[in-house]
């Protein structure tokens, strides 16, 4: 093929004209305008020239090599690099994270991440105190696209497992901004920098080797200190001409992604990131994970990769004990109630794994004793909840990432909860945690878990058998956590509860002991003062003791006022509850009273008047007006002042008086009320006895009404001493209702818990869930006990209240 020949002079360009000419000549060379001999001649001249034109030499050499008749080489379009960088990175947050990951791989202890985009000179800066790069590393490594030193050496100098392998993290910088400046300082070399204008790559048909990457040698480098001292090594990347503006939510997302980049557990505590920005100043801070102190339960599981034993450690806030147990894989699967048809294996095939689960409550009590607020904890949980998989201590996306649509709840906890939304009070069998209460980490390694490989889609692992083992291990561990939570829940509730009277007693004891100690000091000082004749000291001590006495009396009065107040409130609540239940009785009487009176009026007006029927109607009206009046009296007598003080009370008489008042309502429902027992007297609060009894009778009334046939409520009163010799008495209330299901017996005293949630069948009332809570609180205050069982005779529930006899 013939090509036009042209003679060209290759000299160093001096001005713009020469530059244009040179470009023209090059194009000719590019289109093979020169023969092989001509190129060689030109090349020789260039090499002999004292000022080396490296660009021209490189170009001629490249063209010369294209004349090779035996072998040819690929050449790469510059745009390819842009595609690699921009298209393989999801968004600018991920791109920035890739750069931080490089800092982690470089053994950096600290990384500064700055995002300033509000000023004219917008900039993103990532600076670390890692090991830095030599000029040789920069040219032969960093500029070598696709090369990754991480493939040759999987671990960093300090033993960190490196995070990337593909050698394309550096191109992600193009996603962030048009110009990149990298300055680095290594132990052996000085400071060296390079500058890339990514926009030059974005030209159609331009060869990658035609782009110049400028090297420069700055005098200083701005990198974070290392252990309080200026770091000897490190790398600073500055990206300008930002491609995208950052929003508050971008920064927030970046912060939480940074906090999740490394595990929030002790394993990688030596890696700290400090974020600074001018978009969301509240996120300009050290990325930290202090929130983990607020966990209610912490579970750790370790599987060493051999056999089928998994070692569990569980700690919780309530018992403050560490429970260690070994569970076999098959037993764990049984706990999860996995059936044979599901994807389960006889042995774990995933290799060594360790797992940590932290369970949180979103309650104010969770942040007690920590530095942060409840709103902060909630926000943290909203952003970080989920069970993540960490490979070599770096999170594998998308598992457990709140921003990931499918990966967040990869264990399908929300679906499980939706199917059975049972609360913790329902026990371990049906209680499940919700995904937003859980932060978990599953630790695997690239070398130890060879069966857990990356999926081709870049995010996530291949769903192999080993992956399902990991998933089942997480679910099994979760079941253990849920069981633990359900079991400790009841205990924690009980331990939290101290009755008001006990608490008052404790305060009084403490005040008394302070007074006693002061008395002792006074005596001692008096004896010393007598010798040294300094009465001033004694007088001041005496004054202090008097002050303590006054305070003690005041405290006594406040406490007794509060207890009294509590007693009145319980009594009033009891009236409210019983009125709601027996109210229809009053309502019926009122309507009957008015209708019967009106009937009488109509009957008398008839011609001839029906006097007998009219009188019978008036009798009915009178009878029902008395019923209404009795209900009024019932409410008034409940909170009488004399019932609120502690005095000798005839228990049986008190019970009979209450029964008499409630009898009409019971009789209207065909319920026979019976009091059996002997007269006994005890020093107590009459109002407390009445409140207990009314609440129990109200429940019995509802229970009886739910069953047809014979209805009866029996109250027994008798003396009963404890086995330890404590003197006391009891009264029990038994009925012919359906009784209390065993699964509810632990829960009936919880506030707002009620078995009467729907007004069905015989019962038209809905429970408030307060009656038995009041009963329990009074009995606790009186230092008594409650027992629940089935009455052998009446077949319904029987509540037995034991109280100490004073």
């Amino acid at each position: 093929m013939a090509h036009p020949r042209k003679e060209i002079k290759i000299t160093k360009p001096k001005n713009l004209e020469e530059l244009a000419e040179k470009a023209r000549q090059r194009s000719f060379i590019g289109s093979k305008a020169l023969t092989e001999t001509e190129i060689k001649e030109k090349l020789q001249k260039l090499l002999q020239s004292p000022s080396s034109d490296y660009r021209a030499i490189f170009k001629l050499t490249k063209d010369l090599s294209k004349l090779d008749k035996k072998f040819q080489r690929f050449f790469v379009d510059a745009k390819t690099l842009i595609h690699l960088g921009r298209d393989s990175i999801k968004d600018h947050t991920t791109a920035l994270l890739e750069l931080v990951k490089n800092s982690y791989d470089a053994d950096a202890k600290n990384v500064d991440v700055d995002v300033f985009c509000k000023k004219e000179s917008d900039i993103i800066r990532v600076a670390d105190n890692g090991f830095g790069m030599t000029k040789h590393d920069l040219i032969n490594g960093w500029l070598h696209i696709g090369f990754s030193g991480k493939r040759a050496s999987k671990h960093s100098q300090t033993g960190r497992r490196k995070t990337g392998e593909k050698g394309i993290g550096r191109i992600s910088a193009d996603r962030l901004g048009g110009v990149l400046e990298l300055i680095t300082k290594s132990e052996t070399d000085g400071i060296v920098g390079l500058k890339i204008n990514w926009d030059e790559f974005d030209t159609e048909g331009k060869d990658i080797s035609d782009i110049d990457v400028e090297l420069f040698y700055p005098k200083s480098i701005n990198i974070p200190n290392k252990e309080g001292k200026p770091s000897e090594t490190g790398t600073e990347i500055r990206i300008s001409k930002l491609r995208q503006s950052w929003t508050i939510s971008n920064i927030e997302n970046l912060y939480y992604e940074l906090s999740a980049l490394t595990p929030p557990f002790n394993e990688v505590k030596d890696f700290q990131v400090e974020l600074k920005n001018d978009v969301a100043p509240s996120f300009s801070k050290k990325v930290n994970s202090e929130f983990f102190k607020a966990a209610e339960i912490e579970l750790t599981a370790v599987y060493d990769g051999k056999g089928s034993d998994i070692i569990y450690t569980i700690k919780d806030k309530y018992t403050d004990k560490e429970d260690v147990q070994t569970i076999q894989w098959q037993n764990l699967l049984q706990k999860m109630q996995k059936n044979d048809s599901e994807e389960v294996s006889e042995d774990l095939r995933c290799g060594p794994v360790s797992l940590k689960l932290l369970f949180f409550l979103r309650e104010a009590a969770s942040v007690a004793g920590t530095d942060f607020k409840l709103s902060e904890l909630r926000e943290f949980l909203d952003n970080n909840a989920g069970v993540k998989i960490y490979r070599d201590n770096i999170a594998v996306k998308p598992y457990g990432f709140p921003s990931s649509q499918f990966g967040y709840d990869w264990l399908e906890l929300a679906e499980k909860k939706a199917k059975d939304p049972a609360g913790v009070g329902r026990g371990a069998d049906s209680y499940t945690v919700t995904p937003n209460q859980l932060i978990g980490a599953i630790f695997i390694t690239r070398d130890g878990n060879l069966n857990l490989t990356d999926s081709a889609a870049r995010e996530g692992l291949v769903e192999s058998e080993a992956f399902f083992d990991i998933k089942n291990l997480a679910l099994g561990s979760l079941k253990i956590l849920e069981t633990h939570r359900a079991n400790t829940y009841q205990k924690s509730r009980e331990s939290k509860k101290t009755s008001a009277s006990k608490e008052a007693e404790q305060i009084q004891t403490q005040l008394f002991s302070v007074k006693e100690e002061l008395e002792l000091i006074k005596t001692e000082i008096e004896s010393k003062a007598a010798k040294s004749s300094s009465p001033n000291i004694t007088r001041s001590i005496e004054k202090s003791i008097e002050r303590v006495e006054v305070i003690t009396k005041k405290a006594d009065k406040t406490i007794s006022d509060l207890l009294n107040w509590n007693r009145v409130l319980s009594g009033l609540a009891t009236i409210g509850i019983s009125s709601a239940v027996f109210g229809h009785e009053t309502e019926g009487s009122i309507s009957l009273f008015t209708t019967a009176t009106d009937n009488a009026r109509l009957l008398i007006r008839n011609t001839p008047p029906d006097i007998d029927t009219a009188i019978s109607e008036l009798d009915k009206a009178l009878k029902h007006s008395k019923k209404v009046a009795a209900w009024g009296a019932y409410a008034l007598t409940r909170v009488q002042r004399e019932k609120r003080s502690k005095k000798k009370v005839n228990i049986k008489n008190t019970i009979e008086a209450v029964v008499k008042e409630l009898k009409p309502a019971f009789e209207a429902s065909s319920i026979k009320l019976e009091v059996i027992g002997e007269l006994l007297v005890s020093k107590t609060y009459q109002m407390d006895i009445e409140s207990i009894l009314i609440n129990l009778l109200t429940n019995s009334y509802t229970a009886c009404n739910q069953k047809p046939g014979i209805r009866k409520v029996a109250i027994y009163v008798d003396r009963e001493d404890t086995k330890r010799g404590g003197k006391g008495y009891y009264f029990s209330v038994a009925d012919t209702g359906h009784g209390i299901a065993k699964e509810f017996q632990n829960r009936i005293f919880e506030p707002l818990f009620s078995t009467k949630t729907v007004a069905t069948g015989g019962s038209k009332s809905v429970g408030t869930g307060l009656g038995l809570t009041i009963v329990k609180s009074i009995v606790d205050d009186l230092q008594g006990e409650i027992k629940i069982d089935h009455d052998p005779e009446l077949k319904g529930a029987r509540f037995k209240i034991w109280l100490p006899k004073e």
């Binding site: 229809h584 019926g588 209708t595 019967a596 065909s670 046939g709 014979i710 007004a759 069948g761 015989g762």
Partner: protein, 214 residues
């Protein structure tokens, strides 16, 4: 004579409202009688009662489960349970509830089953007029259909059934809630079947005689 029945477990209540109902019906010149009953042990017991007493309307209290009588225990159903049961057979019988709680949730859920929900506090001649009109409508409709039913059964029994008389009778049986006989045929067919059954009885008789002789 057509009757209205008041069903209430409380003796005082049902007595007083029966007196009131009677009084207003009298003022409206109605000859419908009023009776009051304690709830029957089983809802099914009402079926026979409605037919036997010629009940033209039922008034129930919602709460039926509370009270008892010397010889009767509390029942385990309420007014809203009873209406569902009665409607299974008597789709058109006027059914009212008279309650202290007309806003009761369960009652409101079944509002379509009732003709009206009345409050005990507001039971005046206006309400009684509504009940009376409902009774009259029901009785007229029922009587017309019953006489037609009588005519048709007589025709079919005497072998004079023509055209679609049997189909008409079936439809009426269904409307009047009279148990439907699925093998309703004309007289001739029935006689043939009857004779066939007599023949088979004769056969059994001769077989037995033979055995006895042996």
């Amino acid at each position: 004579m057509a009757k209205i029945v008041i069903v209430d477990d409380n003796k005082d209540q049902r007595g007083t409202y029966a007196i009131r109902l009677k009084q207003f019906l009298k003022e409206l010149n109605s000859d419908i009688q009023v009776i009051d009953v304690f709830p029957f042990e089983k809802p099914s017991h009402y079926y026979g009662f409605i037919d036997a007493e010629n009940i033209a309307a039922i008034i129930v209290d919602e709460k039926l489960h509370n009270d008892s009588q010397p010889d009767k225990l509390p029942v385990d159903y309420n007014g809203s349970d009873l209406v569902m049961f009665i409607r299974e057979r008597y789709k058109y019988i006027p059914f009212f509830t008279l309650t202290n709680y007309p806003e009761d949730q369960v009652l409101q859920e079944k509002i379509n089953e009732y003709d009206y929900i009345f409050s005990k506090k507001e039971f005046t001649i206006k309400q009684v007029e509504i009940i009376q009109r409902a009774c009259q409508r029901y009785l007229i409709e029922n009587q017309k259909e019953l006489s037609m039913y009588n005519d048709l059964t007589r025709k079919i029994a005497s072998g004079k059934a023509a055209g679609n008389d049997i189909e008409k009778l079936k439809a009426l049986q269904q409307k009047l809630e009279i148990p439907v006989s699925t093998d309703l045929k004309d007289r001739e067919e029935w006689l043939k079947e009857f004779e066939k059954q007599i023949a088979s009885l004769e056969e059994i008789k001769s077989k037995l005689e033979k055995k006895l002789k042996k």
